[in-house]
């Protein structure tokens, strides 16, 4: 008898069987749908990672990975993105509390860190291009610019999305629809940080060990 009670309590945290609980809330369903999109986006990145891993050594006499990358620069970029992930979490807490002022504040900090990240990335690309190490130099550089550039494009899109969401909070307030979109935005922003972990490990730190 005891065992059946234990099993039941594990399966029914709220005392209602799973089959009788009805459809999940819109918030759960929307987050799940967006999670599926994020996974498909990560699969796109995995193809770019595979291309980079295969073409890593094909420098065609041009500069190689260990000659090009500045580790301190990348550490600073990584710090910005990681901190912006944290401030994005703070923004979600502010939204749960329906506090407009602190939502705007944390959104501003998140966006500022994202802009600094993008600035660092663009300046790195600019330096490489002016040194003659553009994407057309070798297969290695083509795959590098595609992988890191795609991540940068995602960050840019995320910044635009954040800006639009702040305008929506300003005009519509904390409606359930707006809050669902903010939840999706935070998932997107955190997923970009996960992709960046792969980028700095494989591209920048792995450069010295290939």
């Amino acid at each position: 008898m005891n065992t059946t009670v234990d099993v039941a309590s594990e399966e029914m945290p709220e005392g209602i069987p799973l089959s009788e609980r009805g459809p999940a809330s819109t918030r759960v369903v929307a987050a799940f749908g967006f999670w599926l999109f994020l996974l498909s986006d990560i699969i796109v990145f995995s193809a770019l990672f595979a291309a980079y891993a295969v073409l890593n050594g094909e420098t065609n006499g041009g500069p190689s990975a260990s000659e090009l990358f500045d580790k301190r620069h990348v550490l600073f970029e990584t710090g910005c993105l990681l901190a912006s992930s944290f401030t994005c979490g703070m923004m979600m807490i502010a939204i749960e509390e329906r506090s407009k002022a602190s939502t705007y504040f944390w959104a501003l900090v998140t966006a500022a860190l994202g802009v600094v990240f993008l600035y660092l990335e663009v300046s790195e690309f600019g330096g490489m291009l002016s040194a003659g190490a553009g994407p057309s130099r070798s297969a290695f550089l083509s795959s590098f610019f595609t992988l890191v550039g795609t991540h940068g494009a995602h960050v840019t899109a995320g910044l635009a999305w954040l800006l639009i969401m702040m305008a929506q909070i300003g005009t519509m307030g904390f409606r359930p629809m707006v809050i669902r979109r903010m939840v999706c935005f935070s998932l997107f922003w955190h997923a970009l940080d996960i992709v960046w972990i792969g980028v700095f490990t494989v591209v920048y730190l792995g450069a010295a060990h290939t």
Binding site: E14, T78, L82
Partner: protein
């Protein structure tokens, strides 16, 4: 009744607690761990404390650990009933990602290995 309460608490995601303090703590723990792993992998990549050929493995372990931290503390993936579908689709996503990356690497390494060296290939063309 006590046991009932414990299971529901354990099944909740670290960030899906209702109270502000718990959410703040979840993000702070995640951020602290992420900083630790990031600093660890940057330090490991240029350290001489670790045997050289093992550094890529160490970097991979640190990166995967940090991805796990982000998933649990930032994206709130957990074993909660609400999250079952998320976990299942994540498992499938990880499977596909592994297939694409390691499949490509194995196939390309194999083709590289089987390919004739370039100078011999040029010689064949010149003999015509």
């Amino acid at each position: 009744m006590n046991a009932h309460v414990e299971t529901t608490d354990a099944q909740r995601a670290p960030g899906s607690h209702q109270s502000r303090r718990d959410r703040l703590r979840s993000y702070s723990i995640g951020f602290g761990l992420a900083v630790l792993f990031t600093a660890g992998s940057f330090a490991a990549s240029s350290s001489h404390l670790v045997w050289g050929p093992s550094i890529p493995v160490l970097l991979a372990v640190l990166a995967i650990a940090q991805m796990g931290v982000h998933l649990v503390f930032f994206l709130h993936i957990s074993t909660a009933p609400d999250s079952t579908n998320n976990v299942l689709s994540l498992a499938f996503g990880v499977f596909v990602v592994g297939l694409v990356i390691f499949g490509s690497m194995i196939i390309m390494a194999n083709l590289n290995h089987a390919m004739m060296p370039m100078d011999q290939l040029i010689d064949i063309h010149k003999q015509r």
